[in-house]
Amino acid sequence: MNQFNLLIMIVLTAAVTFALRVSFILAAGRYDLPPVVRQILDYAPPAVLFALITPFLILSDGAADLSLGNNRLIAGVCAIICAWWTRNLFLTILIGMSILWGLNFLVG
């Protein structure tokens, strides 16, 4: 994506984000979200983020690679375990990047 397209992307995502933030505040308490919608939206973060993370770890050139030769998958799984265990952002990034660099260096 060139800078012009990136700028368009930034403006549009900013507009969408601001629209969501201002929506009900501007409606001044006249409307509310139905409870069932709130309950479904509770699952948006894990669902959306895993839909983004998983292909990045598993797909290589469009095909699933679940073998031990997939360095990103191994580093990613270690990072998931680390995040689960420590709940620490920086330790998770450190572990994930170190394992990726180590594997790339050792096995290419």
């Binding site: 959306v48 993370i53 920086f90």
Partner: protein, 242 residues
Amino acid sequence: MSVAREEFLLGAKHLTSVLPAAIPFGMLMGVVAVDIGFWPSTAVLNSLLVYAGTAQLAAMQLVDNGAALPIIILTVLVINLRMMMYSASLSHRFRELSLKWKLFVSFVLTDQAFAFTWARYESEPDLPLERMKWYYAGSAAPLGVIWVISTTVGAWFGTRIPESWELDFAIPLMLIAMVVPNIKSLASLTAAVVSGVLSIVAAGMPLNLGLVVAAVVGMLAGFAEEKFFHPQSREEESVESV
């Protein structure tokens, strides 16, 4: 000391508790943005205008994948739907604010700002709006300034890091670090696993639509798990919110 000043400083003081996480996070945001091809100025503009870390990261991941613009916008929309929930929760409290204040409050609305404000109302339900708005301003606005400055510093560093470091891998790692500790129930685990598996199965769909399909089905799967196996779990909460 005036009420405005007193409340603003109290909010800012509470805000300092999230800075050890926010500053390095903002810096990493700048580093990876430059790594995947943003100019430093574009990276800073992104943090200034969008001002939502998770959504910015998701958009960058998709840019890195070469996804189509409509998919990027749709993904940011779904990730930030929680902002609409915060907006709905705060709308009753902020009903009497002037238009200018409503626009300002909305622009700086984040997970942190909502959490601080909500906690304050929980402990002092009768706090007058005149105090509350300045507390909100103090706990929300400085974070935006700090966010933009840390992104700028990160973007500057980013221009000095060679591409062979594969720093774009830090994007999914940051997403992992943000989402995994928040998986606290079987229902949210269901949402994550269903969506993760589907994102691979549906990867062949045009325009990265598989991502959207996976995310929506994952959300519904989490909700279904909750409804079928823990139908009572929300009773207490719904009584509270009446």
